[in-house]
């Protein structure tokens, strides 16, 4: 039975020539170039790094060895956890504040006139300057880290959400008006979904800033987490140990940004990425 079916299938389209797939190196051209580039840079670093004073520099194989040691001792997983908790909590709080505020000032001129100036100021100013103040208010513990993450993350979220609301075509809200939808209905069922791609862009920019924020927070406040590891390693002239958390932070930043980007295609499959407000 199976063989007959197979035979029929083959008979059904005999004329079609076997479409030749392009060879491996054609299909993954840019990927191969990127990999080659990384290999070259790492090799160069390995060779030159070994010749330098280990106080000033390190090299890949030493960093990998250090990484292994720190994972086994539980030091690195603990530091990662210490950083991730305030990072994710702060990010969520920033989203919960930023999205409604962005919707509000995007939709209502009066709200924008009242609050827009702070948003612009907060987005433009170096918020690091306020950290000593936050330390006075919130001490050196978990809370202050969350606050710093919130403050540094919330503004790109607000600004992108506002830009998204402004970009909603008037024709779409008029459809709502024409069917006599209430203002609340228009905001919830038209403005909000239409703004989702912009909100996701804001979140993607926000998560990148959240990673920066947590490191800064850990430098300034109670030395702990991945940022603390960097400071401590620096003070011990342990350059290889310094590169371990740096590498982890880099991977974390790239990974989280990609995660939000992936989420973007899941929650707004009808839209391409709305990258209008990248900073």
């Amino acid at each position: 039975m199976t063989t007959t079916e197979h035979g029929e299938q083959r008979a059904a389209r005999p004329a079609e020539p076997a479409r030749t797939r392009p060879p491996f190196h054609r299909r993954h051209r840019s990927g191969l170039i990127t990999t080659a580039s990384i290999v070259v840079v790492l090799a160069f670093w390995e060779i030159t790094g070994r010749r330098m004073n280990p106080i000033f520099s390190s090299y890949p194989s030493a960093i990998v060895r250090k990484f292994d040691v720190q994972v086994r001792s539980g030091l690195l997983p603990q530091a990662l956890l210490d950083s991730l908790q305030p990072l994710l909590l702060g990010f969520c709080v920033a989203a919960l504040i930023g999205i409604p505020v962005g919707l509000l000032i995007g939709r209502y001129r009066a709200a924008d006139a009242a609050l827009g100036v702070y948003v612009t100021a907060g987005y433009a100013m170096p918020l690091v300057a306020l950290i000593p103040l936050f330390m006075l208010w919130f001490g050196l513990g978990f809370t202050v880290k969350v606050v710093i993450v919130v403050v540094m993350t919330v503004f790109p979220i607000v600004i992108n959400t506002r830009a998204g609301v402004r970009a909603v075509p008037r024709a779409l809200t008029e459809v709502g008006t024409s069917f006599m939808a209430s203002e609340l209905h228009i905001v919830r069922k038209i403005i909000l979904p239409a703004t989702v791609p912009h909100i996701m862009t804001g979140l993607r920019l926000g998560i990148g800033r959240a990673v920066i924020a947590i490191v800064i927070a850990e430098f300034f406040t109670a030395i702990g987490g991945l940022g603390g590891q960097i400071i401590l390693a620096g003070q011990r002239f342990d350059t290889a140990g310094l590169f371990v958390p740096v590498t982890v932070l880099m991977v974390l930043g790239v990974g989280l940004t990609h995660l939000v980007g992936w989420l973007e295609t899941k929650v707004a499959p009808w839209a391409g990425p709305a990258d209008t407000d990248q900073d």
Binding site: T177, M180, A194, P269
Partner: protein, 284 residues
């Protein structure tokens, strides 16, 4: 030739209403720097539309036909004059009117069904009932098989069918259409025109639509209202005398009367256009 509907198909009375436009004027003010420009989009326009009648508004760009339609819908207010639907004055958007928008204007995040449900949802119709009504309307426009598709998975013609179903879902007494099929290819457009006539036969709705396409105006309407710009006004009203029911549009198109009436309107439109061009000061 007293009542344009007398020899046309007079549909059985359902939810339908007459529309009376009384002396409507509208001026848009635009400011560029210190210069203030006033554009008289509509200048004392009056028109009566009978219940169950199909009226086409056509004319050159800037003649105010879309503005008039938006005033009828309630999205725009007239500066003076008033619009009555079934005897009551229009002060904003209302339950008795709905619009098929230019380029459909569907919500891209909603399925076809979700889009049709929107109008009912806004009016607080319970979920099961609005689902039933929406499915019924999608069936009516021939999209019963595509209810779950998002707008980006629908062709232009199918999108506009969803737009039509959405407008019909709230059972309006007056159906307004703003260049509904302008962006579609000729074959798709003809299919939808036949569909509109069929729906009109089945529901008897009063239909007022804006079009640039004179073929479409003559094919669908009982009367074609030709408007002229600067200031926007009604230039002439052409009663269309084609035998009813107009079920077979191909045959209708082939008729002598069709060509003659189309030509008559086109001629008047072009005369107005050249007069317009002559009146305009030469720009150097």
């Amino acid at each position: 030739m007293t009542d344009p509907l007398a020899e046309k198909e007079k549909p059985m009375a359902a939810n339908q209403a007459g529309v009376s436009i009384e002396d409507v004027s509208k001026t848009f003010v635009t400011r560029t720097g210190k210069q203030v420009d006033e554009v008289h989009v509509l200048d004392h326009v009056s028109l009566r539309v009978e219940p169950g009648e199909i009226v086409a508004l056509t004319g050159l760009s800037g003649c105010g036909k879309t503005t008039l339609l938006r005033i009828l819908l309630g999205l725009e207010r007239a500066d003076s004059g008033r619009v009555l639907v079934n005897g009551s004055e229009v002060t904003g958007c209302g339950a008795d009117r709905s619009m098929v928008f230019q380029n459909a204007q569907l919500f891209p995040w909603r399925s076809a069904l979700g889009n049709v449900e929107f109008g009912l949802e806004a009016r607080g119709v319970p979920k099961s009932e609005r689902r039933r009504t929406a499915l019924e309307k999608l069936e009516l426009v021939g999209l019963g098989h595509a209810t779950d598709r998002r707008p980006d998975q629908l062709s232009g013609g199918m999108q506009q069918r969803v737009g039509l179903a959405r407008a019909l879902s709230v059972d309006p007494a007056v159906l307004l259409m703003d260049e509904p099929f302008g962006a579609l290819d000729a074959q798709t457009r003809e299919g939808l025109q036949a569909e509109v006539l069929r729906i009109h036969r089945e529901t008897g709705k009063t239909i007022i639509f804006v079009t640039h396409d004179l073929d479409e105006a003559v094919l669908l309407a009982h009367r074609v209202v030709l408007m002229a710009p600067n200031p926007g006004r009604i230039d002439r009203i052409f009663p269309i005398e084609l035998p009813a029911p107009r079920t077979d549009l191909v045959t209708v198109r082939g008729r002598k009367e069709f060509g003659a009436q189309r030509h008559e309107i086109w001629h008047r439109l072009m005369t107005g256009a050249s007069a317009q061009a002559a009146a305009e000061p030469a720009t150097t």
